[in-house]
């Protein structure tokens, strides 16, 4: 089992330039059902799929607008690789077309654009993952994003992370410990993101195929603390946490106002203490995320 995406998910790709097409090809090679791409001005044509594995794939049908794609190929998820200046617009176009799950990989989107897009998505009742994230994968079924597929293995551990490559690290450790994953989600590290830890914990709580969850946080903000309190109150499965940035200097301040809004909160030490207070086992080092989960499950 899994959350949000699986083998029947029908994926649209917005942004099929060189990088977007490369990653889309990798997703298709993984077995993901990618049903179309959106490239304004190229509607009615197709894009060649070459995953570099010597296999032949059907070319990807292209559409001018998300609406056209929805009418023709009925996607239920979209992944966005549109470059930063147009990415928020792409998110809103997907939401307006009623695609229920929007995964935005693009990094470097202006914060004000994201504030507008996040609000728009919410009003349309859609869900957004990202931006500036590796995407989401249900191993063995569906890979949506830029993560290397082969490090994952199907199983019962859910992974939620603010980081990209640190997520790969944790997943690789799980795989090496013989612990497969139900679904892994990178939620992104930007100030404004579509889904936070608590949103996905609620999904994992309901998923009978998930037996434990890894939550990888970073310094800054309060989302880890909010998630920790939710876990203590409502979450029924074991959780292993990790917070990156224990050695990050307190300097590099965002000026007065940045510190005000957090009320001086957001250090790794504070987050780790909060996680532990709420019954979450915190991995002692980034090299011990997998083993910590294994030990917890064997208790």
């Amino acid at each position: 089992m899994s959350i949000l995406v699986g083998k029947d998910s029908r994926i649209l790709c917005q942004g099929v330039g060189r990088a977007g097409l490369f990653h889309t090809s990798q997703c298709i090679a993984y077995g993901t059902k990618v049903v179309g791409g959106v490239k304004p001005g190229k509607g009615g044509t197709t894009a060649p799929i070459d995953a570099g594995d010597g296999k032949e794939y059907d070319p990807l049908p292209l559409f001018n607008t998300v609406n056209e794609a929805v009418a023709a190929v009925k996607p239920d998820v979209t992944m966005i690789y549109v470059p930063a200046p147009g990415a928020a617009d792409a998110i809103m176009e997907a939401a307006d077309a009623g695609i229920p799950l929007i995964i935005c990989i693009t990094e470097g989107i202006p914060t004000i654009d994201m504030a507008k897009a996040a609000r728009y998505v919410q009003e349309k009742g859609c869900r957004l993952i990202g931006p500036n994230c590796p995407g989401i994968i249900t191993p063995g079924q569906c890979k949506i994003g830029i993560m290397p597929g082969y490090i994952h293995t199907p199983g019962t551990i859910g992974v939620i992370s603010r980081s990209g490559t640190l997520t790969y690290e944790a997943v690789w450790q799980l795989t090496n410990e013989g612990l497969g994953q139900s679904t892994c989600i990178g939620i992104g590290g930007d100030p404004i993101i579509g889904s936070v830890f608590i949103d996905l914990l609620k999904d994992f709580n309901k998923d009978p195929g998930t037996e434990g969850v890894i939550m990888i946080g970073e310094i800054g903000g309060e989302n880890e603390e909010i998630a920790a309190r939710y876990i203590k109150e409502h979450f029924t499965k074991p959780v292993v946490g990790f917070i990156a940035g224990r050695t990050a200097p307190p300097g590099k301040r965002m000026g007065h106002a940045g510190a005000i809004i957090s009320g001086g909160k957001g250090t790794a030490a504070e987050k780790i203490a909060c996680l532990e207070e709420n019954g979450i086992v915190v991995a002692p080092s980034p090299a011990e995320i997998g083993i910590t989960m294994k030990n917890l499950l064997n208790k």
């Binding site: 290397p148 980081s163 490559t165 997520t167 990888i216 000026g255 007065h256 009320g263």
Partner: protein, 389 residues
């Protein structure tokens, strides 16, 4: 990206925020001239630097004559300004703002940021002019907040709520609302990450003015604001960090002796953490980003090695987008290009890792390889002590 006070005031003024007037000068003679022009008996000479805490560092001085203005200006311009928020070397001062002395009755704080939970939010407090972080920490109820809809802007009723909340009466309501709405509009239209008026003052004659202003822009929005480049003052930034930023490498210098190069900010922070746990001290944070090419790795090495404290380097790459064999080739070419003289530990994982490891094995360079993060950290700490190289 931060800008100077005088630049921030110019932007706010364009959005109908009344700001205290002033004259920007470059030397003592101009400062004396500015004193005469202003015609105020008491004037203030303010160093234009990006760091806060200018007053405590001697960068803000009261003057009572043209001669004094000239002398004070020459003193401030003569050396880097050291404040509680700068390094011990301080920051260079090239420009000064000369302002008339203000007859302050009361000081307020107004600021705006993008909060993770609330989105864009304007904040105001009656506790202006002082360490506002302390107010936030100890008496958070003294900070009023209004979330600002990024599409609609700050509504008039929200501005009134803030004005009344700060204790303003009917007479000043109009101008205070104009200031709040102007600030919010400026923030949204110029893509700010941070905007502050601290203090906003009322004078004994009933005027309301921005006495000081600070603006930080969202670097991600630079593509649609050519003015960012015009307002940028590179003399105010750390040279190495600036060079890294030009190469789109994210670099922060730290105090340790183990240089690190990692892809991804989270993994980079985690790598620093594990170096510390292994008994070492990281010399830097460096996120080399997605495209780990030979050129980028070479540039990253140069930046890491420009720090004389570095005694060993750890490269930790988890290849997702980037392939390990490409990284390995890049590292080898970079090591040759910079003639690396300190021990190098490389930990590679991800796409094409076997090919990558083979490339290191086949090279005749003294590169120490590791498979896990912990092994890598232990090896680099050992190497820095002179053990493994």
């Amino acid at each position: 990206m931060n800008i100077h006070e005088y630049q921030a005031k110019e932007i706010l003024a364009k959005f109908n925020v009344p700001v205290q007037q002033g004259v920007v000068v470059n030397n003592g003679d101009e400062a004396a001239g500015a004193y005469e022009t202003l015609g105020s008996e008491l004037a203030v000479v303010k160093a234009q630097v990006h760091a806060g805490g200018r007053g405590k560092g001697g960068g803000v001085k009261l003057v009572r004559s043209a001669q004094e203005a000239k002398e004070v200006a020459e003193t401030i311009l003569s050396k880097p300004l050291v404040t509680p928020q700068t390094t011990a070397e301080g920051v260079p001062v090239h420009k000064l703002l000369v302002c008339p002395g203000a007859d302050i009755e009361k000081e307020y704080y107004v600021g705006m940021v993008v909060d993770r939970a609330l989105g864009p939010v304007i904040m105001a407090s009656t506790e202006g002019g002082i360490e506002i972080e302390e107010v936030a920490k100890n008496t958070p109820e003294k900070i009023l907040k209004e979330p600002v809809d990024p599409g609609l802007g700050l509504q008039a009723f929200q501005a009134r709520r803030l004005a009344f909340g700060l204790g303003f009466g009917k007479d000043q309501l109009g101008v205070v609302c104009q200031i709040m709405q102007g600030l919010a509009k400026a923030f949204l239209e110029t893509d700010c990450a941070l905007m502050e008026i601290n203090p906003l003052i009322t004078t004994k004659t009933g005027e309301v003015l921005a006495l000081d202003a600070k603006i930080g822009f969202d670097d991600n929005a630079s593509f649609r604001h050519p003015m960012y480049a015009e307002l940028h003052d590179s003399t105010q930034e750390n040279e190495t960090e600036l060079k890294a930023a030009e190469l789109h490498l994210s670099y922060v210098k730290l105090d340790g002796n183990i240089g690190c190069m990692v892809n991804g900010a989270g993994l980079a922070m985690a790598t620093m953490d594990i170096i510390k746990q292994a008994g070492g001290e990281p010399a830097n944070f460096l996120d080399v980003g997605g495209g780990v090419s030979e050129k980028r790795v070479t540039e990253a090495f140069k930046i890491i090695l420009s720090d004389p404290n570095v005694e060993a380097v750890l490269v930790n790459i988890f290849g997702g987008i980037v392939q390990c064999d490409v990284v390995a080739q890049g590292v080898i070419e970079a090591v040759k290009a910079v003639q690396l003289s300190v021990p190098l530990v490389v930990r590679l994982e991800g796409t094409n890792v076997e090919k990558g490891r083979q490339i290191f094995a086949d090279s005749d360079l003294p590169i120490i390889t590791a498979t896990g993060m912990l092994e890598a950290a232990n090896k680099v700490v050992e190497a820095a002590k002179g053990g493994a190289s």
